[in-house]
Structure formats: C-alpha cells, structure tokens
C-alpha cells in the first residue's frame, strides 16, 4: 500500500483509574481497505474506537486524517470528517419506523426526499429495508442495516463496525460481508472490530491485533491460520475443551411439554408450544439469535417469572410448573442466567454472601432461619480454589471481579452444589478465552459425572462444541432437537433466521 493512509494513529494512550486501556498504539488504515481490529474482551478495542469516533479523548498520541493532524472532540466532528460508526448496541427507537429512525440521525429534511434517498442507497448496497416498519418488528439483521444506511447517507470515508455479526445468522453475515466488500471497492475504508477469527480471515485485508491494551502485531489475516491468530490474540496456546464421557442415559432430567409463556417485557417474545427433554449424561444446546425468547424460556425454567401460561415443566420426574426457584433447586436443578450482575450475583455484596444466594437450602446453610456463615465461607473458598477464581479473597465484593472471573464464580457456585440438572444461558458471553475454556471443561466434567445440561447460547461455535443434540429457538418456538453430528452450521443458521426471513419475504412481496 503506497497510498497516503486515510487514518493514521500514532502512539495513542488512554488510561482509566486502575487500568491502561490503550498503551502506545499505532494504527494505519488505507483507503478502500477492510481493516480488522482483533482482540479479546478487555484488550482495548472499544476504547481505541471511541477515541477515533470522538467519544473519548486520548491522553497521548496523534490522530492524522488524510495526512493532517486532527483533534476529534466529539462524534459530530468525527462525522463531519467522514467517519461513521455502527455500534454493537443499536440506538433505535422501538416504536418508530425505519424512516423515522433514519431521519432522526440526520439534519432536518423533507421526509419524501429522504425516503427516496434511503431506498436508493439501500438498493445500491443490497441492503433490504422496509421504510415503514417499526423497529420493534424487525430482526437484528434489519436493525443493523438501518444503522448502516444511516451512516452511508452521510457519505463516510471510514465506516467503523463494532462486533457486527454477534447478532446475525450465518446467512445474514454473508449478506453483510457482500455489502462491506462493495463499500470497500468504492474506495471507502472499513474498520472491523471482532474477536471472531474466521470472519476476519475471510473478510479483512489487514488486521491489527491488540492484547492487554498494547498493539501486538499487524498482519495479513488471510495468510494466518485461525490457530496462529488466536495465539497472538490470547498470548498462549489454546486447548479446545475435551468432550464428556458419560453416555446419554434413558433417565429424563428435564421434560418440557407444550410450554407457553407470555413475556413480562414490553416488546418481549412469547414462548409458544415448546417441548423438549434433557437426559442424564447429555447436553442439549439451544441456538438462536438474541431476543427470540431465550430470556423468557430461561426464566420460565428457573421459575423466576411464575407458573407458565400453559404446559408443564418436569424436573427429575416431579411436576415443577407451579414451584418457585428455590423449590426447583431442591429437586436437583441449578440455573445460571444470562445476566451476571444484578441477577446471578449482587454486585455490592461479598463473594461469601453471593455464595449463599442460591445455595441456601441445597447446601443446608440455614438452620431455624439462622445462616451458618462459617459454613458458607468454607464453601465460597472451595469455589474460588476449584474454579480458579481470581479474587482478593472470599470477602471481596462481586463488583471487584472481572467478567470472566465472575462467571467462573457463578458457574462454580452452581456446579459445586452437585446438581442433577444444569440449565445455563450464555455461559461464556463476553468472557475471555481462558475462562471460557475453563467453564466449558467444568460443564463437561459435570455431565461426565452423570448430570444433564441445557445450554442456551447465541454462539454457534459454543453450541457445536458442547452439545449432543441441538435445537434452535426462533420467535419463541423451538425446532425439534437433532443429534449434533447430523446437522451443519448452515442448517442451524437457516433455522435461526427461518420464520423471520419468511415474514420478511412476504412483506417484501407486498411492498
């Protein structure tokens, strides 16, 4: 690349109280280049990108735009330079239409003209959009397309995408990549933030790898293997978790029959007629894109949202439908919900106190209403030791733990209760690779000891790595579980987007 770089960062540093998020980072993006910013959670990717987009200011370092040094004070000045960004969490108003959401982000203008520009732009880049549909009605893929079009209407030279595929089906991901390649061919640059190695290898021209706030390497990802990229990203070899050994037994640990649950959230997803069972010695994986009823299913199984509207939940052959969470735990089940802080753990209580939260009765820590705190302390120490939780001690507050350590603690707290059934949602979401591998291994070990597990995850790699059987949740309904060996990623991907794409095609035909 002999051209003058579009954006050049030199020696960027940014410190927060207690951590150096970016340490002397250099980055160069050429015009028309798709550049990956690769790193684990906490590597400093988000901080760097926020500096480029003017959300944060660097403590040190220089930013050069088309060869000239610039100060980007706020997102508005980033946009006026020609930098657009699609955030991981979309900023759309649920009750507004696509067109209205786009209009809000732009200077005031005539809506009919805007509609025309919107449709032309969407068409030119192969982005299917429906200007008059409300945001709450749209798939994650379409929401993301709104954000992208919103950026494109401002004609950016650099488009930043933060973990764009984390909410997409494999098919939607392919469509996105086609669009991004078209944009690059026009001479626009793309900064693509991800921790997914295969994507980066297939899409990006160059990759800058961050680890612990430092720039580790610049490379051409196509010439690397996934393994070599992973080693650069993590800093050591990663072993993939071994499978479990116990053969699936006939004994049923969880049986769900015709379950229907009304969501307690506005714009939530109702669960409709879901049936499945989990046997001893097996892991049933439920794949699906966020917001398709996973939270509702999880809370219905744990008993946190009360009895279901219809259907039955049997835990170890006892009807648990009418039971509360503690009674279900007494039957032999444990639960690890998706939300760690605030649901699975209380941030301003200590690890000892949090150990007690779900184990009160299963571990016999309550006697005539009195808590056996020395016993709980012992148990907390066991969790820390056996699950390699890094904390200053059992009296440390939950808020002082990193995401990965907290998740190891929560999973440890449940597994040490020797459950016969483990129900876990998003076991390794946002957790670093080392902790993720440790959590997977502990789950496998529990299954080898004869327990059954239900794993709900949006991460297809995780679903395939763990599951004996796989089902897909989509718009509150569940596909029939199939043995993992008999389904491919593509088939699962189709099921993930299935009913959504049917309804989209239908409404497209009307338009």
């Amino acid at each position: 690349m002999n051209e003058k770089p579009l954006l050049q960062l030199t020696g960027i540093s940014k410190a927060f109280p207690g951590c150096i998020a970016n340490d002397d980072i250099d980055l160069e993006i050429a015009p028309g280049e798709i550049h990956a910013l690769l790193g684990e959670n906490g590597a400093g990717k988000s901080t760097l990108v926020k500096i480029i987009y003017g959300v944060l200011r660097p403590d040190q370092g220089r930013l050069c735009w088309r060869g000239e040094e610039v100060a980007i004070d706020n997102p508005a000045s980033a946009r006026s330079l020609g930098i657009g960004m699609v955030f991981q969490h979309f900023s759309l108003f649920e009750s507004m239409t696509t067109l209205e959401n786009v209009a809000l982000a732009l200077p005031p203008q005539d809506l009919d003209q805007l509609r025309e520009r919107l449709e032309t732009t969407a068409h030119d880049y192969g982005l299917t959009l429906h200007p008059d549909r409300h945001a709450y009605d749209l798939s994650m893929g379409e929401r993301q397309r709104i954000e992208i079009v919103r950026c494109l209407l401002q004609n950016p030279s650099l488009l930043i995408l933060d973990e764009p595929t984390s909410v997409l089906t494999p098919q939607e991901t392919d469509t996105l990549f086609t669009t991004l390649r078209t944009l690059a061919a026009e001479g626009r640059s793309i900064l693509y933030i991800s921790h997914k190695l295969e994507e980066v290898r297939s899409l990006c021209d160059r990759a800058t790898i961050l680890r612990g706030g430092k720039r580790i390497d610049d490379c051409n990802p196509a010439q690397e293997t996934a393994q070599s990229l992973a080693e650069k990203m993590i800093g050591r070899r990663v072993e993939s978790a071994k499978g479990h050994t116990a053969p699936a037994a006939y004994e049923v640990r969880l049986k769900v029959t015709d379950l229907s649950v009304r969501s307690d959230q506005p714009h939530g997803t109702d669960i409709r007629d879901v049936s499945f069972s989990v046997h001893a010695g097996e892991i049933l994986g439920i794949a699906g894109i966020a917001g398709n009823g996973q939270t509702e299913l999880m809370n219905a199984l744990s008993g946190e949202t009360g009895p279901p509207q219809a259907g039955a939940i049997e835990i170890l052959a006892s009807d648990a439908s009418q039971m509360g969470p503690m009674a279900r735990r007494q039957l032999g089940a444990v639960f690890v919900p998706e939300e760690r802080v605030g649901q699975a753990a209380v941030s301003d209580l200590s690890l000892v106190q949090n150990s007690f939260l779900t184990s009160a009765f299963r571990m016999g820590f309550v006697n005539h209403g009195l808590i056996n705190w020395p016993g709980v302390g012992q148990y907390a120490k066991e969790i820390l030791d056996e699950f390699d939780v890094k904390a200053t001690g059992v009296d440390a507050l939950v808020s002082s733990l990193s995401g990965g350590n907290l998740q190891k603690f929560i999973v440890g707290r449940e597994i040490l209760q020797s459950p016969q059934l483990l129900i876990v949602s998003q076991p390794t979401w946002g957790v670093d690779a080392g902790a993720a591998a440790a959590i997977h291994e502990q789950i496998q070990r529990l299954i080898s000891a004869g327990a059954g597990a239900l794993v709900i995850s949006q991460d297809l790699d995780e679903i395939f790595a763990l599951s004996d059987r796989i089902a897909v949740i989509s718009q509150g309904t569940l596909s029939p579980p199939r043995p993992a060996g008999e389904v491919t990623t593509e088939q699962v991907g189709l099921l993930m987007g299935a009913s959504r794409s049917i309804s989209e095609t239908a409404s497209h035909a009307h338009a």
């Binding site: 109280p17 207690g18 004070d73 706020n74 508005a76 000045s77 946009r79 006026s80 200077p107 744990s302 008993g303 946190e304 509360g324 969470p325 503690m326 009674a327 735990r329 639960f335 919900p337 939300e339 605030g342 649901q343 699975a344 753990a345 209380v346 941030s347 301003d348 209580l349 106190q353 007690f356 939260l357 779900t358 009160a360 309550v366 209403g369 009195l370 808590i371 705190w373």
Partner: protein, 357 residues
C-alpha cells in the same frame, strides 16, 4: 460547565464521614443564622447542642426523646434497605398509640398488671394494621407505597382528633379534648425518681441490636439486603417480592406503633389531639443519618433528640423561635444528601467547547 460523574469505587469511610460532616456544617450554618438573627452564635450553639448533655436531667430528656426516634428509624431503615419507601410512620405511630391506648381508656380504673403488656401488643398491632394498607395496595394493585403511607398519616391524625374530642373524651375534663389520664398500671415503669427515663427507653436501646442480629445472621435479613440492592437477583434466589413488601412494612409499622403506645403510656399518660412532634417524619432523617445501620440509627436518633431538647432550651433561655428545631433538622438532611451524592459521584468540569454538524 460542571457535571456529575459516577465514582468507580465508593469508600465505606466516606459513607460514614458524610453524616459527621453534615452535622458539623449544620452547626456552622446554624451559627451564621444565629448571627443574622442578632444572637451570639457561640452561646446559642452551646444551648442547642451542648447544654442538653451537661446535666442528668438533660441526658434523661434526650434519652426519652431518642426512644421513639430510634424505634421508628430502625423499622424504616429495614424497609429502606429493601427499597420499600414507607414514609407514613407518623400515621403508624398514631395508629399504634390509638389501639394500644384503648385498654387504658376503657378500663381506666384497672390495676391489673396485664393491662400494660396487652397495650404494648395492641400498639404493635395498630401500627401493623396501618402499614398493612400500603402493603396490601402495593402487592395487590402495585399502588405506590410512598403516596399511600403518607396519605394515611392524615387519616390517622384526624381519627385521633375525632376520638379525643368525641367518644374517648374525658367526661370529667371540662370539655377539653383528651382522654382520661391512664391508670398507674397502664403506665410504663420509670427507673429513677425525678427522671423521666422509662422502660420504653430501654427497649429502644435493645431493638437495634436485635435488628443487627436479624440483618447479619438470619436468612430474612439477608433477603432484605438482596431485595433492596438487586431485585432481579432476589427473584433468582426465590425471594418473593410480596413477602418482602409485607414483612418490611409490617415490621416498620409495628415498631412505629410500639413507639406510639409507649409515648402515650409514659411521658404523656393520656391521648391528646397531638401526641407526636413529628417523630414519624424525623425518623426518616434518623434512618438515613444512621446509614440504615442499626448502630448508626441508635447514634443518629440520639443526635436528633439533642436538637429537640436543645430547641426547647433555646426557646426558653435564648428566646429563639421553635421553628429553629425544624430548620436544623432540615439543614442536616440537606447536607447529608449533598455529601451522599458526592460519595457516589464526583464533580468534573467539562469543556464548553462542542460543535454540532
């Protein structure tokens, strides 16, 4: 431009320093107000904050005033910890005094020693009954407990006025509103002749330690703490929200009711149209000044009681208006809230620069 930015960590030290700073600054502000009123600030402050503590009778009066504040503040702090905002303790106090006094009113010549325990029990039940209304409406219809409990204060006050002017009025009282004086058997025993310290004062000192034990050692106390700081985690742990609302409101109401009947059965010795100098509301300040902690409530209740007694002294010997007591309590709460904000947030200056595209 100044903005507030959340602090990454909150220091426990700052949390306890904040009430002390608030008290100090209140004294300072008080001095300035006295100065503006043309009073010698040193003398006025001495009368206000120190004099009540320099004599046995002053200390006894402080203890007597602190009793109800501590009892009510303790019950409220339990609810506040759980995120249940009962601000109608004044009404529960009156309801407790009403129901608890019924035996003394109807058996005004009784010498049966059982009448006193019976009154205490009824006092607790009266406070609970008053608190049960916001609990029922909240758990059944999701009605806001702040509004319901507050409005019930006025109902209780009017009910009290109605009773002491109507059915319960002393027939030998020359038409003045008020019940008969309670019989001796219906009065709380006092310990030292000449001083008004009574059994209720002792109970008020013991209750916080009991509450401390419940909060730290029992599952119920643990549930209250979890429910207050993370409702979803409480749900995950199978803690029933309705049960928490009922428990904290009933305990808070019961303690306020007990304080009410003990006030009637000690220093007043009868029911009158007004039996509380705003204990139920002042106890809210006590709960927060005491950091919702049992020992803190004990100390804060004593400190606020000093302002009541000091205020009385200041009226008599320095000719200061009675409103100064309320003023001081208000200033304390103001500074406390300000310092609490600053323990959780820091002030930062943001550049006034900024352009819009």
């Amino acid at each position: 431009m100044l903005t507030l930015e959340a602090r990454a960590t909150q220091s426990a030290f700052a949390a306890w320093l904040s009430p002390l700073l608030a008290l100090g600054l209140t004294a300072l502000t008080g001095a300035m107000i006295f100065l503006a009123m043309g009073k010698a600030p040193g003398v006025a402050l001495y009368i206000y904050f120190i004099e009540p503590l320099t004599s046995w009778s002053g200390l006894s009066e402080v203890a007597v005033k602190a009793g109800p504040l501590i009892l009510i503040g303790m019950g409220l702090s339990l609810g506040f910890r759980a995120g249940v905002w009962n601000i109608g303790a004044e009404g529960q106090f009156i309801a407790g005094a009403l129901l608890g006094s019924a035996p003394a009113v109807y058996f005004f010549e009784s010498t049966n020693p059982l009448i006193l325990p019976c009154m205490m029990l009824l006092g607790i039940l009266g406070g609970m009954a008053w608190a049960a209304m916001p609990a029922l409406l909240k758990t059944r219809f999701n009605a806001n407990e702040i509004l319901v409990s507050l409005m019930l204060v006025y109902v209780a006050e009017l009910l009290l006025v109605h009773l002491v002017q109507g059915p319960w009025r002393n027939p030998e009282g020359w038409g003045f509103p008020g019940t008969r004086m309670f019989p001796d058997a219906a009065l709380l025993p006092m310990f030292v002749p000449g001083y008004r310290v009574h059994l209720g004062t002792l109970i008020a000192v013991v209750i916080p330690f009991l509450a401390w034990f419940v909060l730290t050692r029992t599952r119920l106390g643990f549930q209250v703490r979890v429910f207050g700081s993370a409702p979803l985690a409480a749900r995950h742990a199978g803690i029933s929200s309705a049960q928490m609302v009922w428990t904290t409101l009933l305990v808070g109401g019961g303690l306020a009711g007990l304080a009410g009947v003990m006030e009637a059965a000690s220093t007043i010795g009868q029911l009158m149209p007004k039996i509380s100098p705003g204990y139920g509301f002042t106890a809210i300040i006590v709960a927060f000044l005491g950091r919702l902690h049992p020992v803190g409530v004990l100390l804060a209740g004593t400190a606020i009681a000093v302002t009541y007694i000091g205020g009385e002294g200041a009226q008599i010997s320095a000719g200061l208006p009675k409103a100064v007591t309320g003023l001081f309590q208000g200033i304390i709460l103001f500074y406390l809230l300000a310092f609490d904000l600053l323990t959780r947030y820091r002030l930062t200056r943001v550049g006034a620069r900024g352009n819009t595209a």
